[in-house]
């Protein structure tokens, strides 16, 4: 019978087939970070259990790490203790930990792929909802809770119920200055923040094929904002070229064996999806959120919708008016970074816009590379100098203003153009207002001091 990619990945990892009910699924890879695992390790300790296969796990601190003065001791004692706890837990359980100063640190969803830890065809989990990012490689990847992290460490399996499938086809070609971020926001705007609950999304179509791995990761990263735990792109030559030669990727004859398996990882031509959504990529404009849920989003040439009863709270919080455009809205902050848009291509797109300009007076603009490797890469290309010259701050890697758990926090009422993935109330600081958009759009907003259409500001 014809099978979707999701079904193939599912079938290949069934330890106990529960049919329509929960099945026991084998987990090949587990990424750990400091926030979601202290209690998982405590669980193992209470039950006196070892980690079954420590070599399938990789840990890094990202959420609470400072992005400045990394040569100094961490100022917040709770953050310092949490990071130290991850390191010591990993040491006691034989799990590899990438230290803050070792050159390999970064946001968990950025380092997995760059290390070749994320591979096509694997099951990968992490105590973080944006684990969907890794689906860009054709891996079955999803976020789990802390208890499940403990279960995976002890048993290497999880009870999971098979999702329904949704294919999202992007037809045509993306226009200039429109990116994977806009594709994601356009989709979420179309189907809603819970539009894909219970479904595994497979992204397909020419505009997806044309995306780099970075773009595909951005797209899959945001699947969770449409309610789907899993986003998938079938692996192809773009994928294989990205994975080849990475530190933890197979090499030699193992590479060839892997490759021949990976080539079969695609939905069969006559496979049926439970739902199908078609979006014309050539009609997508840059998108910007106006509210406090990622589906409260409009094309930059549109206007904030009417509908006070439903949107009232969000509109009040964001201080935006129904019927008004977002273009022209003054901003106080700009943030370029996160597991959505903190990779080298994102920094290039932003630097491209920032080059030769200057951040508007009164605007504070941060660039936070997704990993130490991204930072080195960007510096080798001179992007750090472009940003610094244009008045942006150039920081050390971490989650930073995406989640405001470290000391990067915005004051109440501040308005921020941000490349992150969640515009929830208080996400960037209590009372702070977040407008999600692409790296090019954020850079353009930083220079203008207000929300602008990057297409016209570049024309």
């Amino acid at each position: 019978m014809a099978r979707t990619l999701y079904q193939k990945l599912w079938d290949a990892h069934l330890v106990v087939d529960g049919g329509e009910g929960p099945s026991l699924l084998y987990i090949d890879r587990h990424l750990l970070h400091e926030v979601s695992t202290p209690q998982s390790f405590a669980m193992l300790r209470e039950e006196g259990l070892p980690v079954r296969r420590p070599e399938t796990q990789l840990a890094v601190a990202d959420h609470s790490v400072p992005t400045q003065a990394r040569d100094q001791p961490i100022a917040d004692p709770r953050a310092a203790a949490q990071i130290e706890l991850l390191a010591s837990n990993c040491a006691s359980y034989g799990i590899e930990y990438l230290p803050l100063d070792g050159g390999g640190q970064g946001i968990v969803h950025v380092i997995g792929p760059e290390q070749g830890f994320t591979l096509p065809g694997v099951t990968l989990v992490c105590g973080d909802s944006h684990s969907s990012t890794h689906g860009a490689f054709g891996a079955l990847a999803f976020g789990i809770g802390a208890s499940e992290c403990g279960i995976v460490m002890a048993t290497q399996v999880l009870w999971q119920t098979r999702a329904k499938t949704m294919r999202v086809v992007f037809e045509g070609e993306l226009p200039p200055y429109v990116s994977a971020k806009d594709m994601a926001l356009a989709l979420i705007g179309r189907i809603g923040a819970s539009g894909a609950v219970g479904h595994a999304i497979e992204f397909a179509g020419p505009a997806v094929r044309a995306l780099s791995m970075e773009g595909r990761m951005t797209l899959c990263n945001m699947a969770i904002e449409a309610g789907s735990r899993t986003g998938l792109v079938a692996p192809d030559e773009t994928t294989f070229a990205y994975v080849w030669g990475r530190p933890r990727a197979p090499s030699g004859s193992r590479w060839n064996a892997a490759l021949s398996y990976w080539r079969g990882l695609r939905s069969d031509d006559d496979a049926m999806f439970d739902r199908e959504v078609v979006i014309r990529a050539d009609e997508i404009a840059p998108h910007v959120t106006f509210g406090t849920s990622p589906d409260q989003v409009i094309a930059i040439d549109g206007a904030v919708p009417q509908g006070r009863e439903k949107l009232g709270r969000a509109l009040d919080y964001m201080a935006v008016e129904p019927g008004a455009p977002l273009v022209g809205l003054p901003i106080d902050h700009a943030f370029i970074g996160s597991c959505t848009n903190g990779r080298i291509e994102d920094l290039r797109a932003a630097a491209d816009v920032a080059r030769g300009g200057h951040v508007a007076p009164g605007v504070r603009a941060l660039v936070v590379p997704g990993s130490a490797a991204v930072k080195r890469h960007a510096e080798a290309e001179g992007l750090d100098r472009v940003f610094l010259k244009a008045g942006f701050e150039w920081r050390e890697p971490g989650c930073s203003l995406c989640v405001a758990m470290n000391n990067d926090r915005l004051p109440a009422g501040a308005r921020c153009a941000s490349t992150s993935n969640r515009n929830f109330e208080g996400r960037q600081g209590i009372g702070a207002r977040t407008h999600l958009m692409s790296p090019a759009m954020v850079a353009a907003a930083a220079l203008a001091g207000r929300i602008v259409d990057v297409r016209s500001s570049r024309a």
């Binding site: 979601s36 039950e47 609470s64 709770r78 065809g121 976020g143 197979p250």
Partner: protein, 195 residues
């Protein structure tokens, strides 16, 4: 884990849609590495919001929560169900849930129940008027004053785990230890590149 078989009490109505786990448990409290006592931080930034019916007096939170659609969406943080558990919430009823939150509830002895829009609307009304809710997990029935008994779906394994208060790890290891070992042997042969 404390078994859950039958729960009786009043319900809190929280009809707003898309209450995400950042609202249930704000990120800055994630620096805490414990899992107990987190109720003190639940809905922290909404406590003084008159439109939000979580009383500043958290001792008054009843065992049932009737929530709006997509409750618990967003971040996977298990601190959200831990905090609700700490407040004494045992059963959460909504039209839909964030999926990770939904499965996190079961891991902590809490029962999430999905029901259709119309029923949930009726339950919000019962909750607001102080109606008594009873859930019987053995019978898989929810009884609410003035309404006919309501059946709900729950996966058999998750139901059994709640009823017995089982530790999932111990269950998996004793029932499926051999299945896991033979899966690993086969995968190692078929996909040596993964090992």
């Amino acid at each position: 884990m404390t078994p859950l078989t039958r729960v009786t009490g009043q319900a809190l109505s929280l009809p707003q849609a898309d209450i995400d786990t950042d609202i249930i448990y704000p990120a800055r409290f994630l620096l805490i590495t414990e899992r107990t006592g987190l109720g003190a931080f639940a809905f922290y930034d909404r406590r003084n919001d008159p439109a939000f019916p979580i009383a500043p007096d958290l001792r008054k939170v009843p065992p049932f929560l009737v929530a709006g659609p997509n409750f618990g969406c967003g971040s996977s943080r298990e601190q959200a169900p831990w905090a609700l558990d700490d407040l004494g919430v045992r059963v959460i009823i909504a039209e839909s849930f964030g999926e990770i939150f939904y499965s996190n509830c079961f891991k902590n002895g809490m029962l999430p129940i999905r029901l259709d829009t119309e029923t949930v609307t009726a339950l919000h009304a019962s909750a607001t008027s102080g109606g008594r809710f009873t859930v019987d997990l053995l019978e898989q029935r929810l009884r609410v004053d003035g309404l006919p008994p309501l059946a709900f779906d729950v996966a058999p394994a998750q139901r059994a785990a709640l009823l017995n208060g089982w530790s999932e790890i111990t269950r998996i290891q004793s029932l499926h230890g051999n299945d896991i070992a033979s899966f690993e042997a086969a995968q190692r042969r078929a996909m040596p590149w993964l090992w």
